[in-house]
Symmetry: C2
């Protein structure tokens, strides 16, 4: 399982997570279109594909094939590692 922090380092990859968080089970083409429309991301299909590969290696995105389509789904579970590594300490407002 690859580096989750490095996966989050790129703004385009974060936009992919944003988009998948809004709507799960999107194909690569759907993602490209919606990224361009709603997130101002003008990346090519190949670029987005490579970003998705990084997110998959980090466990943040899962994909399942159906025919010639590949549907992508976000998995926020690995993000908990971050909050658990440096938890907010001893403040009245700190929760997780």
């Amino acid at each position: 399982m690859a580096d989750i922090y490095r996966a989050l380092a790129d703004p385009t990859r974060r936009a992919v997570l944003d988009e998948l968080y809004e709507r799960d089970r999107q194909t690569l083409f759907e993602l490209c279109g919606r990224l361009a429309m709603k997130h101002g991301v003008a990346s090519s299909r190949q670029a987005v594909s490579q970003h998705i590969a990084v997110l998959e290696e980090a466990g943040l995105v899962r994909a399942e094939r159906e025919g010639r389509y590949r549907f992508h789904t976000i998995d926020t579970a690995p993000l908990r590692e971050i909050a658990e590594r440096w938890p907010a300490r001893g403040r009245k407002d700190g929760q997780t």
Copy 2:
């Protein structure tokens, strides 16, 4: 305020945060020594200094000068942005 995600992307910077999380108000020299001892980080003083600069720009580390010393302190507040951006949804175990 610079990119918090990019600041977390480097393993040495994460080790700095780990070390400051254990013990606040460390100088650059203290950090270098403790990183080498306890975290297996063999970075030079200048390298660590540059990493700290990145962490400061991201708001994750604050520093206050006293004489010829500069004491560094961790600030975990910016990390909440991550948990709040992709909160765990609708699972029985998800909290923040």
